[in-house]
């Protein structure tokens, strides 16, 4: 729990960082509660809430029945009346059972009530493929929620952001969805102690470059960074932007980069069509940065298929370091 980097900074895993954020919030604010399936003694399907029930008791770390629509709805009702619930979907795929409460209720209540209501609920959603869990346990559906006014939609790529975003989400008076990547849970990184807020809606340039801009979110940030590293060896300088927030999107940071590099590629794990890349591409193509574009805007998303079970197919279905590298190379050389 208290490993240190060589530089003496404290290191936690992504899931430890999330857990620490929840513990801090629960200690500071008695209205914060956790709800979800098997988040108590089991510690959640991905062990993110491990031991929290021992610290805060079953009244604040509530195992729910397997009732996603009802569970999410209870969280919405609780948020509407004074609690700050963090509801964990065991897999983001199961949010499909609760779309009605998330989208028709949570997202719209403030507006439908003319500003007279507030729904400060946080939904945590483990997402993504790579675990061999096939089509119904591996989806990346975050783009859907980008389409929903009233929501905020975050995608932390690092332990530091995972903690800071969760604390920001809890401080936010409106519903926030946080898509966590299952393959990142064990990833380690520096995480500041105590409470801090990662701003919602701000992208981050994780690597600067001059030849092309790669916008990526969640685990794709790391793959894009590795691809950029490899490309640097061939003299291609890629700027890598960690999107962090799908709603709102930080147009400013992205546009500034594209104005500089003139080339844009968006990398994401969701299905390519109608995904995060579509919005970012369109946002750039309708902006003043359009005139700075020297090449088509590339999107690298998942294959047009459900996530397959076979591990080689599964790997082939979503962007990997090699595919990002190859696409970026083509874009830099204007072979598209």
């Amino acid at each position: 729990m208290n490993a240190m980097t060589e530089t003496g900074l404290r290191v936690l895993s992504y899931s430890e960082a999330i857990r620490e954020a929840m513990a801090i919030a629960m200690e500071n604010d008695p209205t914060v509660i956790l709800m979800g399936e098997d988040i108590g003694v089991y510690g959640g399907a991905f062990q993110v809430t491990l031991d929290l029930v021992d610290r805060f008791g079953p009244d604040r770390v509530m195992d729910t029945p397997i009732s996603e629509l009802g569970g999410a709805g209870v969280a919405v009702g609780a948020a509407l009346t004074g609690l700050k619930p963090i509801y964990e979907f065991q897999f983001s795929d199961f949010a499909m059972l609760a779309m009605e409460q998330i989208v028709n209720q949570a997202a719209k209540l403030r507006y439908m009530l003319g500003g007279e209501a507030s729904v400060p609920v946080v939904f945590r959603l483990p997402a993504g493929s790579g675990t061999g869990a096939a089509a119904q346990h591996s989806q990346s559906i975050e783009a859907w929620f980008g389409h929903v006014p009233g929501l905020k939609v975050l995608q932390p790529a690092t332990p530091e952001d995972a903690k800071g975003m969760l604390l920001s989400a809890l401080a936010d008076p409106d519903p926030v969805m946080i898509f966590e990547h299952k393959l990142l849970y064990k990833m380690k990184g520096h995480v500041p102690e105590g409470s801090y807020l990662t701003p919602i809606g701000k992208a981050l340039v994780r690597r600067s470059g001059t030849d092309l801009t790669i916008v990526a979110g969640s685990i794709m940030v790391h793959r894009a960074l590795e691809a950029a590293e490899r490309l640097a060896a061939e003299g291609i300088s890629a700027e890598v932007i960690d999107l962090r927030s799908i709603r709102p999107i930080d147009a400013e940071t992205i546009l500034a980069s594209v104005r500089k590099t003139g080339r844009l590629m968006v990398v994401y794990e969701g299905v390519k069509a109608f995904g995060v890349g579509a919005e970012i591409s369109a946002m750039v193509a309708e902006s003043d940065a359009f005139d700075h574009l020297d090449a088509p805007i590339l999107r690298l998303g998942a294959a047009d298929a459900p996530v397959p079970y076979n591990p080689d197919l599964e790997r082939a279905a979503v962007p990997q370091v090699e595919t990002i590298e190859a696409a970026a190379r083509r874009l830099a050389r204007r072979e598209v």
């Binding site: 009732s67 569970g71 209870v74 609690l83 403030r110 009530l113 003319g114 007279e116």
Partner: protein, 336 residues
Amino acid sequence: MTSDAPATDNRPFAIRTYAPAQLREALRRMYLIRRFEEGAEDSYMRGLIHGTMHLSIGQEASAMATCMELTDADKITSTHRGHGHCIAKGADVGRMFAEFFGKETGYCHGRGGSMHIADVRTGNLGANGIVGGGLPIAVGAALTAKRLGRDDVTVCFFGDGANNEGAFHEALNMASVWKLPVIFVCENNGYGMSTAVTRSTAVRHIADRASAYSMPGITVDGNDFSAVAEAVHAAIVRARAGDGPSLVENVTYRWRGHSKSDRNRYRTKEEIEEWMTRDPIARFRSELIAHGILDEAAADAVAAEAMAEVEAGIAFAKSSPAPAIGDVTRYVYAEN
């Protein structure tokens, strides 16, 4: 609110339980509901209201008797057929009309209309455009009360049609498992839109389903003020005592069509007329007079008062300003 009546008192529950002023106010609100809806219907015909609207004329006893003992701290969740609940819970008809007329002075500042009307200050968490949408939300509100150690209860209104939604099942199960202070009030008016209960629901009485959640269930004549008040009273006592939820089924009837587009092809004129002879307002009025709570003249005065309030409300709404077009995205998120 309740008096300690001697055990030998054979008068109806309401008469022996509530003070005359309370009973008079209940009658007034029932008239207010009726006149409000007639006024809304008339305004709709005149083109002052657009969209659609679901009138509860004929169901006033259910709304009023259910809310009889609720304070502003107690919550209700309502339905698409929610005008009665709203008024019974204490809303101002002027602001309701203003909402229906799409005005900035309306409860939802013109953003919500009839289907989303709410009055958070009197504990009305809102109507709902989604059948069954309020069920989990009510459970969430009850969870808040329990977690924060408050003794307020939540009444969850829903229709017979809603009882076949999955949300009903999930909500009642969770409320029971967690012993939450919520009263599920089913207003069984015989139809979900055009579909008779017998064609949609595998049990005869909705309250028969209470046993599937190990909670008390009772079916009462929803047009009998006292019967409803007594059943809800018992449920409230149980809820406030920490003994958990109850299901109360008020059997009633809507005189009007489901909404403005209904051609009533699914029920007979005779059936409607037969039910109109069981007017819950006339019945309650007679009962009050019979037990000497007020006389004919006083009852007429109550009715006239309601009428005047409705007229004043319409005038207020008419003269109110509309929202500014430029504010179309206002209230989507909290303002900083």
